[in-house]
Amino acid sequence: MLFFSFFKTLIDHEVTVELKNEISIRGTLKSVDQFLNIKLDNIQVVEEIRWPHLSSTKNLFIRGSVVRYIHLPSSAVDTALLEDASRREATAAKDKKAA
């Protein structure tokens, strides 16, 4: 849930999603779910010449499993908080395993 929680905070920020088929799409993150499916708005393909068929697309839904990377806007990431959240997640996982 950490990633879900994290990406929720990036909603309405501009991100670049790199797919496993090498398409990179820049757009405003509109929504994300627990499977890390993504909805992007106002998208722009980074290398538009290679994928001209996408040039008319304005918004899209990306299945979480086809995403390779998401480039984040660093200003919107609170690393200290993210570290703590990761610690919590790890602790919770450990507790669950122990229980």
Binding site: S5, K8, T9, L82
Partner: protein, 854 residues
């Protein structure tokens, strides 16, 4: 026909054509809706088709002797009593009728039927019930939902019209069908005593009267619908199968009739007859027109709402319905004479009513009736699929949905908001830090489920007020949800299913924990190693002198863990104590404070700050090692918040003692061949001055002079001052100490002179130590702009320096000052003023100004 006296109302040419169906014609409540234009094309019972044309072949030539045969010119008279006398003929016709039913639809019966029953009734669907052995088919028949009755509706339509036209006729085949006996009784009564009030009482004792053949047969069909009060629509048919007694063919009751053709029904005759007689007296009283007028509307609605209910004893709940219920229960006991009486009183009374109504009233009544029928039809249309699902079915579906819902969310809510925070920590805190979130904060599933349940409950409360089982269902549903939650709680524990003998695993997933693609099992010894990292004191220091990076990192993590626990603990602080707090609150508070205490101790131990200092050790002190990591540095401000004054001094002391061993000092000393620091070190220094220094400065800024003296003494005694003074961190710390001492001196003139003496000694020592390295304390070249901390240090030194020391200071840094002034002349005005401003920090401290140099 004519000898019954009906010909007045039914013109001969039409006879009982299709437009004037037989008595048994089922009433159709929807007649008014079927469209009047369609009334005539009733093909099912077209008289022309059924009529065999025999009448055309009659020899009419000798009609002149008819008078001889039938009597001449004399009025037929209406004083016959068929029900009493002529019914003897009935048995033969009955036999035929029943035979016809048995062989329905055999073609050879046609002629017979034609004579006895001029109009063939539309098939009503009730024929089978005339057979005593018939077991009703309990499946819903498509016809009952109004596919068939359309025909009847048209029929009825015509019928109604005719009736209106010939309203004056006493025995019109009224919509409320009269039994033969009643018609006759009425006519007799009209002849003898024309007072209308006496009519109901004037009904002849039915048992003696044999039904008229003509009416008898159709009555099988008419019986059922008329029971419902004359306005029976298709929905009421549902009721039918459960009520066999009224459907018994009336002829059975006439036990005294000789030569009864059909034996089986006759077996029950005696009892029926008895009951019949008993029940006679209370008949008329029951047939009050008012009741019947109220009844019809309520009936169909009840059926539509709950078809199943009606089938049994459950009759309408409305008041007239209750009355009717009583009648229904008594119905079976009533004899044949009232087979159409008590259980369907509307049949008896309505025609009478109609008779005595004025034309207007009748019209109004019919309009009203049509309206009712229209409404019923509407309801019927809307309720086409009503009752397909019982409330139980619906609840079942709802339960399944809820169960899936709970399983999908993984029962998040059972841990409360605490779990939500754990699961969604980043989002929650981030939103708190960065302002209100645009979306609603994560809404716990429990609220959703509760809302959902509440809504369902509301719907039941409104729609099913009479539904006794409603509460029960709700309870069961709630229980089910509870169970579902528990099941969901238990579910994550076995996320994988390993079927015996199979090589693979099946892993379950839900929305909360999507199926993990990688399942890496941590080797067991890993846990052991981690455990040793948690062991607090001495073991590492004594057992192994090497504190590796991993151990340090683990220590840091422990510190963070403890910090988070502490911060969580803070949130759980019970309400503040008051004088009148109840013991429970006090207890909670005490427990909370104990917990805080314990966590603080753990934190302090995790910091390793009290580990013995080993000056000869090659490895740094564990606490200093912690500070060499970025996340260790970041933890300091948070730790500082948690520890008390004493612990802060200890921490400060530890840092000061190891000042030259701090990575940000030891590694940040510029060497001649590498004047500029590496970016990594630079970053580290930056982080240290942002994370660690502020709390230290804040603490020093409030420290008394003796603490400052102590700290400076430690620096002078224990550290390599040359290293310290050549780094930003060391210089900043020295600046802080010196300026604090100066501030204390200025703010408290009456300070202890001994302390000041001690301070001056230390200051002089520091001055002497720094003076030789003054030219080298500046980082980089003259062009390096980040030298403000040096000027700050020089300023601090200059303020406290004696004039002689100031002289020496100026001499020491003279070159740098002159160079900076020279460089700034070549710089843009803004940058130049910044640089000169930095220099001026020092110059002004010793009473000079760069302007003087210009």
């Amino acid at each position: 026909m004519s000898f019954f006296g009906f010909d007045a109302t039914l013109p001969r040419d039409r006879g009982h054509s299709s437009q004037a169906p037989g008595f048994g014609q089922a009433q159709d409540a929807f007649a008014g809706l079927s469209g009047r234009g369609a009334a005539d094309d009733d093909d099912a019972i077209d008289f022309e088709e059924t009529y065999d044309g025999l009448g055309d072949q009659l020899d009419e030539t000798d009609d002149t002797f008819n008078d001889d045969t039938f009597g001449n010119d004399k009025a037929v008279g209406k004083d016959f009593d068929f029900a009493g006398q002529t019914s003897r003929v009935a048995d033969a016709i009955e036999g035929e009728g029943l035979l016809w039913q048995a062989k329905q639809p055999p073609p050879n019966i046609h002629a017979t039927r034609h004579t006895t029953q001029p109009a063939k009734p539309a098939k009503s669907g009730y024929e089978p019930y005339a057979q005593p052995t018939y077991i009703p088919d309990l499946e819903a028949n498509a016809s009952i939902w109004g596919i068939n009755p359309k025909r009847q509706a048209q029929n009825q339509q015509a019928h109604q019209r005719q009736e209106t036209n010939a309203a004056a006729a006493p025995a019109a085949p009224a919509r409320k069908m009269m039994s033969l006996e009643e018609v006759e009784a009425m006519m007799l009564a009209q002849n003898k005593k024309p007072t209308p009030q006496s009519m109901p009482q004037a009904q002849p004792p039915p048992p003696a009267a044999a039904p008229q053949p003509q009416a008898q047969y159709p009555s099988h069909y008419g019986q059922m619908p008329s029971q419902q009060g004359g306005f029976s629509g298709p929905p009421q048919i549902l009721q039918r199968p459960q009520q066999p007694p009224p459907s018994r063919p009336p002829p059975k009751a006439h036990a005294e009739l000789p030569g009864h053709a059909i034996p089986p029904p006759g077996q029950q005759q005696p009892t029926i007859l008895q009951r019949n007689r008993q029940s006679v007296p209370d008949q008329p009283a029951r047939h009050t027109p008012v009741q019947q007028a109220q009844r019809p509307p309520s009936q169909p609605r009840q059926i539509l709402q709950n078809p199943n209910r009606l089938s049994g004893h459950g009759q309408p709940i409305t008041q007239p319905g209750q009355q009717k219920q009583g009648e229904f229960q008594r119905g079976p006991q009533l004899g044949p004479s009232h087979a159409r009486g008590p259980s369907f009183p509307g049949v008896v009374t309505h025609p009478e009513q109609l008779l005595h109504l004025t034309e207007e009233e009748r019209a109004a009544y019919l309009i009203e009736d049509a309206k009712r029928a229209k409404r019923n039809h509407k309801i019927h249309l809307l309720s086409k699929d009503n009752g397909l699902m019982t409330p139980q079915d619906k609840n079942f579906i709802t339960r399944i949905q809820l169960q899936q819902l709970m399983a999908a969310t993984g029962g998040l809510e059972e841990h409360g908001p605490e779990a939500a925070l754990t699961e969604d920590f980043y989002y929650q805190v981030y939103c708190q830090i960065r302002g209100a979130p645009r979306q609603n904060p994560h809404q716990p599933a429990s609220q959703f489920a509760q809302t959902y349940l509440f809504q369902t409950g509301g719907r039941y409360g409104m729609g099913r007020r009479h539904h006794r089982g409603g509460d029960n269902h709700m309870q069961r549903m709630e229980q089910q949800v509870q169970r579902a939650v528990e099941a969901a709680k238990a579910k994550p524990k076995n996320k994988q299913l390993v079927i015996e003998g199979s090589l693979g695993k099946i892993s379950f997933s839900n929305s909360k924990t999507p199926k993990p693609l990688l399942n890496i099992k941590r080797p067991d010894h890993g846990d052991g190693a981690q455990g040793s990292g948690r062991r607090p004191s001495g073991v590492n220091a004594h057992g192994s002198t090497i504190i590796d990076r991993k151990t340090t990192l683990r220590n840091i993590e422990n510190v963070y863990d403890c910090l988070m626990k502490l911060e969580d603990h803070e949130r759980r602080m019970p309400p503040p104590l008051a004088e009148n707090s109840d013991p429970q609150t006090i207890q909670a508070h005490m427990e909370w404070q104990t917990g805080t205490q314990r966590l603080h101790e753990t934190l302090w131990q995790d910091l390793k700050i009290m580990e013995p200092i080993n000056p000869n050790s090659l490895t740094p002190h564990p606490f200093i090692a912690i500070l060499s990591h970025a996340k260790g540095k970041k933890a300091i401000p948070r730790i500082f918040r948690q520890i008390d004054e004493q612990q802060r001094i200890i921490m400060l002391t530890m840092i000061v003692v190891h000042l030259d061993m701090l990575s940000v000092v030891a590694k940040a000393v510029p060497s001649p061949d590498e004047p500029n620091l590496s970016p990594a070190i630079r970053e580290e220094v930056e982080l240290f001055s942002h994370a660690v220094m502020p709390p230290l400065f804040a603490h020093i800024a409030e420290s008394p002079l003796n603490i400052v003296i102590g700290l400076l003494g430690l620096i002078l005694d224990r550290t390599n001052l040359h290293l310290v003074t050549r780094t930003k961190i060391g210089m900043s710390l020295l600046t802080m100490l010196i300026s604090r001492a100066e501030l204390v001196k200025q703010s408290t003139p009456e300070m202890n002179p001994g302390d000041w003496e001690q301070w001056m000694q230390l200051y002089n020592r520091l001055f002497d130590a720094v003076e030789p390295v003054l030219p080298s304390i500046f980082p980089g070249s003259v062009n390096d702009t980040e030298d403000v901390y040096v000027w700050q240090f020089l300023a601090a030194m200059g303020v406290g320096a004696s004039p002689e020391q100031q002289q020496r200071l100026v001499l020491g840094v003279k070159d740098r000052v002159m160079d900076t002034v020279a460089v700034s002349k070549a710089l843009p005005a803004e940058l130049a003023s910044v640089r000169l401003g930095h220099v001026n920090l020092f110059m002004r401290a010793i009473g000079l100004d760069v302007e003087l140099l210009g």
